[in-house]
Symmetry: D3
Subunit: 131 residues, 6 copies
């Protein structure tokens, strides 16, 4: 047993896992599945559950698909998750994110982290107009 789990490739996957891989590829109109899912595949109920969550949350809604990816990238950048920045950054670029937009996104992530700390440390009272 090791700390990191090896990706499970399609030919080695159980039918249950392949069904999720198939749905991921169909939904994304892609012919491959990225490592996150192949590593989650060691735990099929979690694989199915997390994919179900992503499909629902990132699917059609009131926010357009690019904005949804930008939000995912921003939270991942704030949390310092390199893999998530790479994967959702790639998805955002496929949906139209420009390098200029990415720069602006990072600037907001950085500045929000700065002001979030100042506000909390200074214990600023919420203005009545915001309630």
């Amino acid at each position: 047993m090791s700390a990191a789990r090896r990706p499970i490739e399609y030919p080695d996957a159980t039918p249950e896992v392949r069904a999720v891989y198939d749905d991921i590829m169909l939904t994304r109109k892609a012919d491959w599945v990225n490592n996150f899912w192949k590593v989650l595949a060691h735990d099929p109920p979690t694989l199915r559950r997390i994919w179900g969550n992503i499909k629902q949350v990132m699917g059609p809604g009131e926010l357009d698909p690019l904005t949804k990816e930008l939000l995912y990238v921003a939270v991942s950048a704030s949390n310092g998750c390199r893999y998530c920045i790479a994967s959702h950054g790639t998805a955002a670029r496929k949906k139209g994110m420009t390098e200029g937009q990415y720069s602006e996104l990072l600037a907001i992530v950085g500045l929000a982290n700065e002001t979030n700390r100042l506000v909390t440390a200074l214990d600023v009272a919420v203005d009545a107009a915001f309630l």
Copy 2:
């Protein structure tokens, strides 16, 4: 001296601080200044510096103003900064954020925090296609 700093109201502010308040109100087409700035006013160089940053980062660019506010709200929600959620949430609503969009934003913040941890804990290798 106390841990929290009292907001400094316009009539009590120095000319240097009033100049920043004036620019905030002019830029935002508002007739009041929120508590964050009034608390930062105890330290005029920081007040001027942070306002300069916000003005530049949140000003016109490749991302539209609503998307910028949504990103600010998302990072603040991920970091648990109540004041920042309230202030930037109000700004986002003024720029058109619907309650449905806010629900979707929060769902993304929550889910990204979940998958960020799974990815990091499982030490998933970045796929070549993302590099």
Copy 3:
């Protein structure tokens, strides 16, 4: 049983707990004990252990006492721990921290949080000169 634990006052404390309270007051040349210790007192081994840690880490060393308190306040501000900012902020002021120094400290905390995110998100390689 409730989530928050009530502070245990000196007259209600066991001899084991009183011995720690006494050492805190003696070390700090104070005639009272703050709530953190009174709440930890529900678990005497943890009370004794944490006090022992604080006494060793914050005691005499190569960094002067004020610098040590400033570092404690900075980490607490970065983590958003209101109680810790208030208690260590008070301790820092007693050791000579000016309001101007506190403003500079907060500015560093905020800016470090901003650049920490930019560096991590951009996955900047460590320069050879830093190794």
Copy 4:
């Protein structure tokens, strides 16, 4: 487009970027610029803005230069930013930080992270004496 951005070296930089590089080297009395700035150079307004912030916040003030660097290192260590620990750790050593002081700094960072969680989890009320 890739997730990580390549450092832009001086000969390849625009005049606008070179002006910032020049100011960094002049201010620091150095003949090179570290990777953080060379990566930020893909986005000149952010390069100029962040450098302006660092120059103001880390410049002369009420806290001495070494203490400022120690605070930057402490926040970066608390946030787990390896690059920032390496770069500001090097700067702190140049300003006189001893290995013993670095050990004490890390001990404070660790212990503050421990007590910050205990205080928050136990929901300790702020003592009147701290207000």
Copy 5:
């Protein structure tokens, strides 16, 4: 529109929301629903999704129910989520958590946060025996 959302009580809930409330009460053998769900009810798809996740993740498995609650409390304490500590702490006590076990749990949360920072700051290489 306000930042915080009011809890939606059973009599005011739509049939879709009531169905989730009913399943929560049935699963937990309780005659009431806590505020988290009543606030999520403003967004029925998220209410249903999050409840489905909790039901699956916290339901029968290889870890016993008490251990699962202890893990939930520990992560919530590490993240400083007061509501989550209160709600999952209450659930853990109902499943048998003693005050002594809670004290030990908090001690582990605190110490892990301390050593996590030391390990990361010191950039300790993973021992071959752990791979």
Copy 6:
């Protein structure tokens, strides 16, 4: 001086450091010491202090040894400390953690991080029944 500290092997260690190494090996019934301690050995008082904390907190108590390790792994996974996940994950496996239990632990860590953010962002009031 470099940012990362080299592990100090037993033959190169001072008697003071060897005494801690000996106690670690005796307590753990092991014939080697992992890198964390060998790196802390550059600062003997911290080495002794942290080992004393670990020995007390992770020693016999009301929680069984496996549950204690699971809690340590969960907090480390939530904080993204790779070394700590690897070292405490190995310890947990030696104490009986199955791969299925590890999967469930990670699922709880992920989900708690999701709901912690939703609860905080929505500013949910603590139910009276939890107080």
